[in-house]
Amino acid sequence: MVDAARHPKITVKTYTNVERVEGYVGNFKVQLREKARYVRADRCNGCGECAKACPVEVPNYFEMNLAPRKAAYVPMSQSVPLLYTIDMDACIHCYKCVDACGALDAIDFSQEDKIEWEDVGSVVVATGFNHFDPSVIPEYGYSQYPNVITAMEMERLNNSAGPTTGNLIRPSDGLNPKRVAIINCVGSRDKRFNPWCSNFCCMYAIKNAILLKQANPDIDLSIYYIDIRTPSKGYEEFYDRAREMGIHFIQGRPSLISEDPLTRNLYIHSEDQALGKVIEKEYDMVMLNQAAVPQPDVDTVSSILNISQSPGGWFMEYHPKLRPVDSPTDGIFLAGACQGQKDIPASVSSGLACASRAGRILHSDEWQIEPIIAQVWEDRCVSAEGKQCGVCAKACPYGAITVEKGTAALITTAKCHGCGGCVAECPHNAITQMHYTDAQILAQIRALLAEKPEEKIFAFRCQWCSYGGADLAGTSHFDYSSNERGIRVMCSARMDSDFIYEAFRLGAGAVMYSGCHPQDCHYITGQRVGAVRADRLLKTLEKLGMSDGRFRIEWISAAEGDKYSRVINEMQQTINDIGMQQILAENAAMRPELEKRSRRMYEVPMVPEASTYSDKMVIAMSVKEVKDGK
């Protein structure tokens, strides 16, 4: 901690929130809000006279609210920076701190939040995790029985820098407990709360047990566990040491903690798998080893940085094995437990890995980005003819498009991230996207629906989420119907209505319109542009007489392989339920209207080759129609 603050190349900004992140790899702009401390950082010397003078006491969250702090405070004596803060929610404006500070004159009640922008080439996200609140588990009585405490409360009570200077006492009577139980997997591996193993708690239980046993060899210590997991270097040996010290390990998840209201002692009711029977044991104190859970503000952070979340709310890495610290956004990296539950060695390793990954970029003078950007056909843009339009500019999440009457829309290349929203929204087909042109996408749709289209489930997927979801379905070997045929575009914003019309015009059995969940969108609001269009499409297709379920809108993250396979299988079931006759009849009935609607696709300036290709497809279709007797 101190090394970081002292390092000449590091600027530490505490009490500061990140509010906005703009830009792209090598060129991020980050808006910070430095909250008012009401203490001048350039004058405060950390002497603490203000806190001594302050008459207000509030619970100190740093001590898990087991001890008070003043309204003028530092969270702990080793705070870095050692700089006092006045908690304005608690302050009664008596100004005793101002007097106590005296000539130093560091207290400044006129201070306001400071907004500033930082230019950086790379961002490492290390926003950490939170502890599960066990008061939602009724059978353990936390917050009801004073001697049932959490792991973090134990941490402070057992800490020489904590409120009791490391003297472990019972909250009910201040006596030293003689019989202590630790219950593992509280909120972890419990389908009611969190399905995951929280990774570090087995070791954490053993650590606390060893510390307590070392401090008091006569203490009776039991750890209730489902499995003991000690897979890292030196961990199993640590577990052996605990057993040799006489710590009891009881395999079983306690079903109930009850309290003797007179003694405030606790009874744990549990199965003991080694004995094969139900046991009930009395303790003076019980520690609940809480699950690690994502931070409560994870949704805000993920939308500021456009990082997807895995199920449960951990940040999603680009690839679980090959790029474990990369976020899907080039130049943004994930360190520590924000990406998933980690112990200290794993957190440090991922932090160091991020430094190396970011260093790759930051040691380069230039960085290359994919040229998958939008371009305007100036002769097609109606703005150039002096007409009012600007639809493209409205669809752009990055403000990259300038529209002025009399000139064609102008796209600033450096600002364009290549979602393709403007391309699909443009009512005049005046914008194209490099590497994802209309001609390229239509060619794919036509190739995939060339044979038995009515049996096919056509899936439009975005590069970042639903394509990743489909990958994960495969990696996890979740079988789904092989009638699925999918293409990939960068964002659901690129999924032009005409592509969907074209898929149905060609006779698709069902179409899925899929992309990221709104908060995960890689292009800020791209998904919303896509979602609005998809809802409109659904209504149109319903009006045209299409059966329910043949067009589905599904937001599937890269972590939801199970959802991808389930949705495809459900769509297969829908096709089966509706029946081929009905699908063919609906398609035939819809075709004239679809042809009218998707006619503009043929206006796309295609290479001569492309028209030959589409002609061939049209011919192939007519042949098929003849065969089908239409």
Binding site: M1, A4, H7, T11, V12, T14, T16, V18, V25, G26, N27, Y73, P75, V80, E118, V120, V124, A126, G128, R156, G162, M203, I206, K207, G234, Y235, F238, Y318, L322, G336, C338, I344, S347, V348, G351, A355, I361, L362, H363, E366, W367, Q368, P371, T413, T432, H435, A439, Q440, A443, R446, A447, L448, A470, D471, L472, A473, T475, H477, Y480, S482
Partner: protein
């Protein structure tokens, strides 16, 4: 303009990867290659044991020269796995990297349809055909080069953030470490001793 007229004769090479038994255990890659060889514009189609291995990449590079290929389609795994690999391979042979297109016949085909071999084969053919169809319209593109601001930001001052910031700074990179609380340290600072070595947390 990516849809601008492009009159050159198409010479597409198609490579169907076995990926050991990951793909070949479900579908016969040679059959897909034989089928793909009849697609319009395809002048070379073959199967390969591991397209991503040196031997597979060499084959593609040699073929680009031998058959004068101007588009390459690799039917193998996910683009998230090896798009960069194959873009690199074709550009080493002098072809623009954006003239390479992949079909995902592993994650999104053989791995998902292991129990439906006939269906998987049909799908692998279709995915390959779609990649070939797209390849017909590919145009050469250049990467956009952007300048790099040689500063880093680390959001969160816990043990992971501090480690990242220190290492970046030791590399000589100016680093801003942002923490929402009044002190850095995170959960680590609240801990007593740490396992398994029982050293102090701060």
């Amino acid at each position: 303009m990516s849809d601008s007229p492009n009159q050159e004769e198409l010479r597409i090479g198609v490579y169907i990867c076995h990926c050991g038994s990951n793909i070949a255990g479900v579908i016969p890659p040679a059959e897909v290659a034989e089928w793909a060889s009849h697609l319009p514009g395809v002048v070379r189609a073959t199967d390969t044991l591991y397209a991503c291995a040196d031997s597979g990449q060499s084959l593609i590079k040699e073929d680009i020269k031998k058959y004068n290929l101007n588009r390459v389609v690799v039917s193998a795994c996910s683009v998230r796995m090896h798009e960069t690999t194959f873009r690199g391979a074709v550009s080493e042979a002098g072809l623009n990297p954006f003239l390479m297109e992949m079909a995902n016949i592993r994650e999104q085909c053989t791995w998902a349809h292991g129990h439906d071999k006939a269906g998987a084969l049909e799908k692998a053919k279709d995915l390959t055909a779609a990649a070939v169809a797209k390849a017909r319209f590919l145009t050469p593109l250049e990467f956009i080069t952007v300048p790099v601001t040689k500063r880093a930001m680390v959001i969160g001052g816990g043990v992971a953030g501090i480690s990242a910031a220190l290492d970046l700074a030791d590399q000589g990179i100016e680093t801003v470490l942002v923490e929402k609380e009044p002190t850095i340290g995170g959960v680590m600072a609240q801990l007593n001793k740490t396992f398994p070595t029982m050293d102090c947390s701060i």
